[in-house]
């Protein structure tokens, strides 16, 4: 552990507010935050949290830096992001391991998360030469009409513990290419990975003589989070978290006419049709439901299976679950580590009690694994008689609900019945069934897949969902437009002054 921390410049006590290499801010009044290893419960290191005073220092730097950053040509901004991607390549192993150490996902997933950071940097470098605006034919003679995309400002990024660094990079790399600066409030359950990333950013910024492009403000939601969402200096807040918090963020930011990108709760299902390749389906279900201990936004939480394959699929799932190696997430071969906090374990156990009260039958797992540590649990499969209230709620834990259907219409109705709309999938070998699922009357989610699962999205597509998932889009495709302001321009190069719609006014 010490070696990882040393490589990443993590000290025993770290300042939690920063704007650059020589701009770590520490207020003696700042409260200590201890980061714990969820596998052992042992403390890793401490952070001095951001206070009102240090928050203002960080925002001041981010706003100031924006004034010059926005005037830096986009391809030049792309070079800074390219160097950030290169630095992340160099630190991939220790940073990925710190992700594992601090929040408990297995090492392969920790490394994969850093790879995602590298990938989005590569994407953003290309994007820096492709911030295209349209040209439109004006209805007035000798007029030119077009649109430009301008940088927006200092952007607030509020991320969650489950992807402690990748979600930041989806926002920060794109925002930087777009000419924005970012202020990052990471989860209080994963502050050290944020400090490590900030050190990497600081070195890259310093190499380019920059400061304040990437900024950090670690602190409680009720302190730093509330300041950010109510701060008119942050024209955009990109928030990843729960629907309940997203509602609060959305209302606060809308009150000041700011913008939000909301990536909120999911309740992702896989429909397994009667003609599905069950072997592929089971492998996918296992990765989707057990990976990251069921703590991904895109984790598979519901299986909607055709009656004709229900028995066989259930047996195969149970068999697969029984072979999951649970334990030290740093160890090769482990497939599931601990839950992030003791509170998360309590939340899971409470949900299972409710599921049982609502007619659910726990057919696999359901127990704490205290021999391994206080935060280890068994991945759990619950057979439900119907889609009861508990199934409509997202529990951030490895609980998989099994439901049955008779025809595709019923499957899609069950699928869309929940309030969330993030990710979805169908396993079928029938083209008509697959296309129905992807059609206007099919899945109502932001992500809909065929013969692959609900999780494991690539950075190239826009990531986000509908309904109570919040409607935001991050990462690839044209999500960059959310980080810029669109300006419509018309230039009259004639010597006349014609009005649109043929209006004559005082002629």
């Amino acid at each position: 552990m010490k070696e990882i921390l040393k490589k990443l410049n993590i000290k025993e006590v770290n300042a939690g507010a920063c704007s650059g290499q020589n701009a770590w801010y520490e207020d003696p009044e700042g409260q200590e935050l201890i980061s714990y290893d969820p596998s052992t419960g042992e403390p890793i290191a401490k952070v001095i949290q951001t206070t009102d005073k240090t928050y203002d220092q960080v925002i001041g730097q981010a706003v100031q830096a924006f004034k010059t950053w926005r005037m830096t040509p986009a391809p030049k901004r792309g070079q800074v992001v390219r160097d950030l991607g290169q630095a992340l390549r160099e630190y991939k192993e220790p940073l990925g391991e710190l992700v594992t150490l601090e929040m408990g996902k297995i090492r392969a997933e920790g490394l994969g998360e850093v790879q995602e950071m590298i990938d989005i940097c590569d994407f953003a470098v290309g994007l820096s030469r492709q911030l295209y605006g349209l040209t439109m034919h004006s209805e007035r003679p000798a007029h030119r009409m077009f649109e430009q995309w301008h940088p927006l400002g200092a952007i607030g990024v509020i991320s969650a513990f489950n992807f402690p660094v990748a979600v930041w990079s989806w926002n920060a790399a794109i925002a930087a290419a777009c000419g924005d600066t970012t202020v990052w409030k990471p989860s209080s359950d994963a502050p050290l990975t944020a400090i490590a990333v900030q050190h990497i950013c600081n070195a890259v910024m310093a190499d380019h003589g920059l400061q304040g492009i990437f900024n950090l403000a670690i602190g409680r939601g009720a302190v730093v989070g509330e300041r950010m969402i109510n701060d008119g200096r942050l024209p955009l807040i990109s928030f990843t978290g729960s629907t309940q918090m997203g509602r609060r963020v959305s209302e606060a930011v809308a009150r000041r006419f700011g913008r939000t990108i909301l990536e909120l709760g999911g309740n992702n299902a896989i429909i397994v049709a009667g003609d599905a390749d069950l072997e592929m389906a089971v492998r996918t279900i296992l990765f989707g439901a057990v990976g990251t201990a069921g703590q991904r936004c895109t984790s598979t939480r519901r299986i909607i299976m055709h009656k004709s394959v229900a028995k066989e699929l259930t047996n195969r799932i149970i068999k697969a679950y029984e072979q999951v190696k649970i334990g030290n997430p740093m160890k090769e071969g482990t497939l599931m580590g601990p839950l992030v906090t003791k509170a998360a374990v309590e939340d899971m156990m409470a949900a299972l009690e409710v599921a049982k009260e609502q007619g659910g039958e726990v057919i696999c797992g359901g127990q704490r694994l205290e021999d391994l540590g206080e935060q280890f649990v068994e991945p759990t499969v619950v057979k439900m008689p119907s889609q009861t209230e508990i199934v409509h709620n997202e529990t951030f834990a490895p609980i998989l609900y099994l439901l049955e259907y008779e025809d595709i219409e019923e499957a899609i109705r069950l699928h869309n019945e929940v309030p969330q709309g993030l990710s979805s999938a169908i396993f079928t070998t029938n083209l008509l069934t697959a296309e129905t699922f992807l059609s206007h009357e099919g899945s109502d989610c932001g992500i809909a897949n065929v013969n692959i699962g609900t999780s494991g999205a690539e950075i190239g597509g826009a990531f986000g969902g509908e309904k109570e998932t919040g409607g935001g889009r991050e990462s690839g495709s044209d999500a960059w437009k959310g980080y810029m302001r669109r300006q419509t321009n018309t230039v009259n190069w004639s010597k006349e002054l014609p009005l649109a719609q043929g209006i004559k006014f005082g002629d």
Binding site: A160, R220, S242, Q244, M349, A350, E353
Partner: protein
Amino acid sequence: MEIDISPDTPIEELVKLYPEAVSFLSRRGVRCIRCGEPLWCTLGELLYEDGIENPNDLIQELKEHIRKRREQAEDSK
């Protein structure tokens, strides 16, 4: 055993210091953590939003529950 919980206790603090509170409150329809993260409000605000009519009574019950859980844990060591 001093259990310091009041309506002014931030949920972020409550779930760290007293994780047992999460299952107790959840079983009464009050969810402190969502998507694995604690809500940003105080316990009093959350109980009000969830329509709990006698928050002080519930907080007393909560404290008693935590006390019992911790005593049981001590006994089992």
